[in-house]
Every structure is written in structure tokens, then in C-alpha cells.
């Protein structure tokens, strides 16, 4: 509803104010042009999706492994956390061209940049999630003679799931943006480079069409995480009902 209202207001403004379509095209014009250029958009969206998914998978695995190591070793955690925090303060604008310079126009630099922007939220979510384990459950397992690894596997890991999915939802929205940014800095194909070219050709309608594609992409990925959470945490529904 909110989106429809916004689009309508935009359409009316673009038509009635007499503003040039090369400055602000109406949404209808954007949609028309998107349809005309659908093959090009599709061809450029594919590499972006690939970079997003590969980069995200890499960051997920790294975050998971490191979170386990950090959960088991407090010194390691104290040593590594500041490094990761600093990695988050690096301006993407500066890093993206450098990574492209070092690793070329291929898939690798995109994967790295996506991983860079999504890794930290995932790691924090996991580490915090382990910490949120109910003390009594851990104590109970200890009284049963469970090893530290068993306590982690039986209690700490499942306790982290709600945090994990919260982090996942935040990360997945960063991931698409990260991929587009990496392509913007240099790529053979992808939504990022498509946006750059459209902008240089004074085609704001095609820029917006590509933005629309990336927004749809993000929404779809977001929807998938919600779906996966529902499948992975079937008890969550009852807990929420109970809380009401």
C-alpha cells in the first residue's frame, strides 16, 4: 500500500510538474523501458545474483567457523574482535576499487566484497546467540556429564538460531548492495556496471529500472530467509503465540 501510494505520487509529480524525463522519469516510463531492455537487465542481474550468493555463502561459512573458535577460546575472541570491527569501518568506496585492482574484473573481488560487508553482522549474531544460552540448560547438561563440545552442540548452537536468523536478514540486504558496489568499481557484467553505463548515457530510467531489479532481488532473498527460518525453527511460532 505504502509503495503503491509512493509510486502514484511520483507518477503524478513527473507528469504534472513538466520535469524532463531525462532528469526524473515517471515510474510508468521506467517500467516500459525495463520491459524493452529486459534481456539486458536479466543478463546483468545474473552475475550480481551469483556474486551475492557465492559471497554470502563464503561469509556464512567463515563466520560460522570463526564463531565456534571464538566461543571456545576467549583469548582468540579478544584478539579477533577488534580486527573485525576495524574491517567494518573501512569505507567501501575506497576498498572496492582496490580489491578490483588486485583481483581483476572476475567473480573473486565481488565475492570478497560481499563477504566483507556481510561477515561481521553474521559473526556478531552468532557469538551473541551462543551467549544467550539459558544458564540453567547449560548447567543441567553439565550435571549430566556432557562435554563442552556436547554442551555447544546441544544447547549453545540451537540457542543461537533466532539471533542467527536476525543477523541473516540484515546481512542478506547488505549482500546485494555489496555486490552492486563491487561491480560499480569494475566489472564485465552485472547490475552495478549496468547502472554506471546507464548513468553515463543519461538514462536515469534505466538506472531506476536496474534499481528496481536489485530491490526485487533483495526482497526475494529476504523472503527466502524468512521461509528457511520457519522451516528450521518450527517451535518459534508457538513461542510467539505464547508470548502474546
Amino acid at each position: 500500500m505504502a509503495i503503491a501510494g509512493l509510486l502514484l505520487a511520483w507518477q503524478l509529480y513527473a507528469e504534472l510538474s513538466g520535469i524532463s524525463p531525462t532528469t526524473l522519469p515517471s515510474p510508468w516510463r521506467v517500467a516500459q523501458q525495463a520491459w524493452i531492455h529486459k534481456t539486458a537487465l536479466y543478463d546483468n542481474a545474473l552475475p550480481t545474483v551469483r556474486a551475492t550468493l557465492f559471497g554470502f555463502a563464503c561469509s556464512l561459512m567463515t563466520a560460522f567457523l570463526l564463531s565456534i573458535l571464538m566461543d571456545f577460546s576467549r583469548p582468540l575472541r579478544r584478539a579477533l574482535f577488534p580486527v573485525f570491527i576495524i574491517s567494518q569501518t573501512l569505507p567501501l568506496v575506497a576498498i572496492a576499487p582496490l580489491v578490483v585492482l588486485w583481483f581483476g574484473f572476475g567473480l573473486v573481488p565481488k565475492i570478497m566484497l560481499v563477504a566483507l560487508v556481510t561477515f561481521f553482522p553474521m559473526l556478531v549474531a552468532l557469538v551473541q546467540g551462543y551467549e544467550a544460552t539459558e544458564k540453567e540448560i547449560a548447567q543441567l547438561l553439565q550435571s549430566m556429564g556432557a562435554s563442552r563440545w556436547r554442551v555447544f552442540w546441544l544447547a549453545r548452537l540451537p540457542s543461537a538460531l533466532p539471533f542467527f536468523f536476525a543477523g541473516l536478514r540484515i546481512s542478506i540486504t547488505y549482500a546485494v548492495v555489496g555486490a552492486i558496489f563491487a561491480e560499480y568499481a569494475g566489472a564485465a557484467k552485472g547490475l552495478g556496471i549496468y547502472i554506471l553505463n546507464a548513468k553515463n548515457n543519461f538514462r536515469p530510467d534505466l538506472v531506476l529500472a536496474a534499481v528496481g531489479v536489485s530491490a526485487t532481488l533483495t526482497l526475494v532473498l529476504f523472503g527466502i530467509t524468512v521461509l528457511v527460518q520457519r522451516l528450521a525453527m518450527p517451535w518459534h511460532r508457538f513461542e510467539r503465540e505464547q508470548a502474546r
Partner: protein, 257 residues
Amino acid sequence: MSGMRLQLEDIRKNFGETAVLDGVSLHVREGEFVSILGPSGAGKSTLFQLLTGAEHADGGAISVNGASVSGQNRDLAFMPQRDALMPWRSILDNVTLWLEVQGMTRKAARAKVTPLLGEFGLAGFENHYPAQLSGGMRQRAALLRTVVQERSLLLLDEPFGALDALTRTSMQRWLEVMWKRHRWTALLITHDVREAVFLSDRIYVLSARPARVLHEFQIPLPRPRDGSAKGLQEASAIEAAVLETLLIREQAGGPHP
């Protein structure tokens, strides 16, 4: 001594400068239901942590079945405050937890536990998640998870503290019936005087911190204690005496009267 399940001798525990346990001695015989009653913050939970091995005593000796205990593996089954059921496991898989920790496969553990569900009022709910169950049912599941361990002593840490008054009373009655039927040996920690009197053979009353045993009460009430008028009268006389011990010592000015 024969039939002695648990013996604590002169247990001392400090946290930094603060003395929490100041020479606590008590024992539990086979088949007995014993309660530890004390003001909140007296160190009851610390005592339990010593028993489960989560903490170590600074002095004194703990023995189970006549053997001094050390390390993790004790012959005790622990039921924590609140139920500590895992929200992500079904009731059945919560109950089998100990068997799984011991290395039994999930399938074998389920088969072993399933026949017990009926007696604990959980039949038909084995595939439910804890969040779908009432507080009383959750506690029954937590107790089943404890007794499945077939240890020589059940440690119950304020098991009914989080329940509403009515559910708590019905759970207490149910626990008494189950205890008699199964001849469990149980040590209960509580600050509910009525609960302690209703369930116990003996009660140890602890002082405020640093905790010592102030008094040991025998509860000679006949069982089952189903709440008949005569039973209730005798029970309230004992309750009054226990309460007096708790309150007077507190008024007398704390730890060293």
C-alpha cells in the same frame, strides 16, 4: 553408615571475601524426602552447585553412597529451577536428553522413555514443543527427564517456584504420590514452608548468609498427605514452628545470633 545416600560434612564456601556456606552438615538416607529451607540468598543454590559439580567447596566433604565425590560424574540427577526444557526439542526429545548425552541413539532413547509418558501425564504430547504446554506439564516433563537418569538421588531446586498457586499445590500432591510409588530419594531446595512440610520426612532450616543449619525438623505426618482435615491441622502446627525458627533467627540480627 548403610542406607546413607548423601552426606555433607562441614561444607564451607566463600565467594571472594563473602562467606556463603559456613559449615553446613546434613544427610539424606535411602528413600527419604529431605528439604532444605532457608531465606532467599542464604546460599541454597550454592549448595546445589556444589552437589552438581558446577562449583567446588572450600572445605568439608561430600559423599554419595558412602564414597567421596570428586569431578563431574556424580550419582545425582538434577532438576533445575524453572524447567530448563529446550524450546527447540519436542517433549519426548527433552525427556531423552540424558540418555542421548550418555551415547544412546535417539531412536533407542525414545523407545525407552515412551512407556513412561503416560504416568507423567504426557501421553499424546510427546511431539509437542515445550511452548505448547502448560506450566504444570512442563514441570512434569522436567521431572521425567530427571528420573529417567535412574540416579540414586534426585536434586530438586525449587521445582515449582514459577507455577501459579493452584498448579503448584496439585503438582506437590502429584509429586508425593510419585515419590511414594517409585521410592525415590529426594533432596528439595525451597523457600516455601508449606511445600517443605507437605513433602518432606525431614527439613533442614538454614540461617541467612553465611548459611549454617539452624534446626532439623522431623515431619512425622502420615502418608499419603492428601490434605485431610486432621492432617492439615498437624501440618500447620509444624509449619508454624518452622516459620518461627526462620523468622526469629532473622530478627535476632542475622548470621551470628
